[in-house]
């Protein structure tokens, strides 16, 4: 029972980690919480649905990359046109604009597609279980491998090797110094949004294929939980956000499994929904360790 919970936790954790990284990137480099990040998740999966079984009928192998690409570009566009100029005014302005964008995206999706749940079928092979001792579907394997793999790829090549990657890391750890050094700010920022958009889309598609049902609020809901994960790990710490993602995934599943064992709590199972757990964890973390588990910044001077 708990073995399953941990495995599921890792899978969900990979998704959280990937999305949390998006929040952490934007917060570290631009100084605000990108409320719209979660909704890009939904945009990605709805696009994919439209491209494949829901509309154009393209095979998944084509639909997925196209949807991911479009979402990434959309994210970059929103970032470049709206969020970056707002962040230049103040982080509060950027936060508010992000909220506005999030609301518009959600409404637009619901208006275009319908606010009820839409089915999203992945196709046979992905749905089959791997084996008895590994209670996952191949889809889950793909998610886990894809999540961890892309994170590792990003880490190794982009952040440690390429010039742009180094600039992103520099901007993330010290935005002002990066600015003074004249690093290509606009490009760095736009790439940050592009990456976070791509990851959000991938995560959304993975979740959509798994649940086989999608709703417009999927993005907001998952995004919120991933955001909590990034706060747990330390929103200023990129690695922390990833770690927080896995941590939250595993904790969520363990708690859910534990609650099911206690019959007295059964009627309150709704209260222990993932959203609720996430909110409570957020409040707790912000109360006791707002900087997160892995944040290593020192006291700020007045």
């Amino acid at each position: 029972m708990f073995y399953e919970a941990i495995i599921n936790g890792l899978i969900v954790g990979a998704i959280y980690a990937v999305v949390a990284l998006g929040y952490s990137l934007v917060y570290s480099v631009l100084g605000f919480v990108n409320f719209a990040h979660g909704d890009l998740l939904a945009v990605g999966v709805y696009l994919c649905l439209f491209l494949s079984t829901g509309g154009l009928g393209l095979p998944l192998l084509i639909a997925i990359p196209v949807a991911v690409g479009i979402t990434g570009l959309l994210a970059a566009g929103i970032g470049r046109l709206l969020l970056i100029p707002a962040a230049q005014k103040s982080s509060l302005a950027a936060l508010l604009v992000a909220i506005g964008v999030s609301v518009i995206l959600q409404s637009a999706l619901a208006a275009v597609f319908t606010s009820e749940a839409l089915p999203f079928h992945g196709g046979g092979f992905l749905g089959t279980t791997v084996s008895a001792w590994l209670p996952m579907k191949w889809l889950h394997v793909a998610t886990l491998a894809g999540g961890v793999g892309s994170l590792a790829l990003l880490w190794a090549f982009f952040f440690h090797r390429s010039a742009l990657g180094l600039e992103i890391r520099a901007s993330a750890s010290n935005p002002r110094a990066a600015q003074i050094l004249g690093l290509r700010r606009e490009q760095v920022f736009t790439v940050v949004f592009l990456i976070s958009g791509v990851f959000a889309a991938l995560a959304g598609i993975a979740v959509g294929l798994d649940d086989q049902l999608i709703v417009p609020t999927l993005g907001f809901s998952l995004g919120l939980r991933a955001f909590v994960a990034s706060v747990i790990g330390g929103i200023r710490s990129l690695g922390g956000a990833v770690a927080g993602g896995f941590l939250l995934g595993i904790t969520e599943n363990l708690v859910a499994a534990a609650v099911l064992q206690v019959p007295k709590l059964a009627p309150y199972a709704g209260a222990f929904s993932k959203d609720a757990i996430a909110m409570v964890v957020l409040a707790l973390v912000l109360t006791w360790r707002p900087r997160g588990v892995f944040d290593r910044s020192l006291e700020t001077r007045p």
């Binding site: 020192l298 006291e299 001077r301 007045p302």
Partner: protein
């Protein structure tokens, strides 16, 4: 007026302030000097309350007796007579010069709705006092200008006027002359001397402007590497071996 015993503060692995002990007497001006990174601003932050010391005690004379203040928050220390000026002008930008000074004359408890917060923020009886303060700093003509619109020097003077209005007995100045033109420096120096002479105020100023400090300080305290190397008359300290060593390194 102020006593510090065995103060220390670390940031990670760096000992910014190491075993600092000091005694400042009333009615004197002390200059705290030393190369960059010697811990001068850290000492100011520790005294005013923005940092908590890792060890040691800070005692401030209030009324007749010495009180331990190292566990008190910033606002409480300010109410006990500790005034602080920052490296940059930090008056409230949207308020006029006059409003800034008025703000500093508000009595204790004005931040509490039930204890004086519900009184109008207006000159009233304080009109004369505020006018006098403004004129002593040469700011009478700019009284109704927003502090953001004043010149750099005027804003420094305004900051100091606020400290006088506050009635602080121990005044901590962080680079008061930095970036100030000669006339501002003169005005500030005169105001500091005036205030010290009149009451039992003590001034501790941190500065890199050695000539300006020499002009005004009764004593110099030399810091390096987080410790106090030397303390004495300005002439003595600046001509000592330790002084040359500290700055030349």
């Amino acid at each position: 007026m102020l006593e510090i015993k065995g103060l220390c503060k670390r940031f990670g692995a760096v000992g910014a302030v190491v075993d600092v002990s000091l005694e400042l007497l009333a009615g004197r001006v002390y200059g705290l000097v030393g190369p960059n990174g010697s811990g001068k601003t850290t000492v100011l932050n520790l005294i005013s309350g923005f940092y908590q010391p890792d060890c040691g005690q800070i005692l401030l004379r209030n009324g007749g007796c010495l009180r331990r203040i190292d566990r008190l928050p910033v606002a409480a220390r300010a109410r006990l007579g500790l005034g602080r000026m920052f490296q940059e002008p930090r008056g409230i930008a949207q308020f006029t010069a006059m409003e800034n000074v008025l703000l500093c004359t508000l009595p204790t408890g004005s931040d509490n709705l039930l204890a004086g917060g519900l009184r109008p923020f207006a000159l009233g009886q304080k009109r004369d006092r505020v006018a006098r303060l403004l004129s002593s700093g040469g700011l009478t003509s700019s009284a109704n200008c927003r502090s953001a619109d004043l010149s750099y020097g005027e804003r420094r003077i305004l900051d100091y006027l606020c400290l006088i209005a506050l009635g602080s007995h121990l005044v901590l100045l962080d680079e008061p002359f930095a970036g100030a033109d000669p006339s501002t420096r003169q005005t500030l120096t005169a105001m500091i001397r005036d205030q010290v002479r009149r009451g039992d105020t003590t001034v501790l100023l941190v500065s890199h402007d050695i000539p300006a400090v020499m002009e005004i300080a009764d004593e110099l305290i030399l810091m390096d590497g987080g410790r106090i190397i030397m303390q004495g008359l300005p002439v003595t300290v600046t001509q000592s071996e330790e002084y040359k060593e500290a700055y030349l390194r």
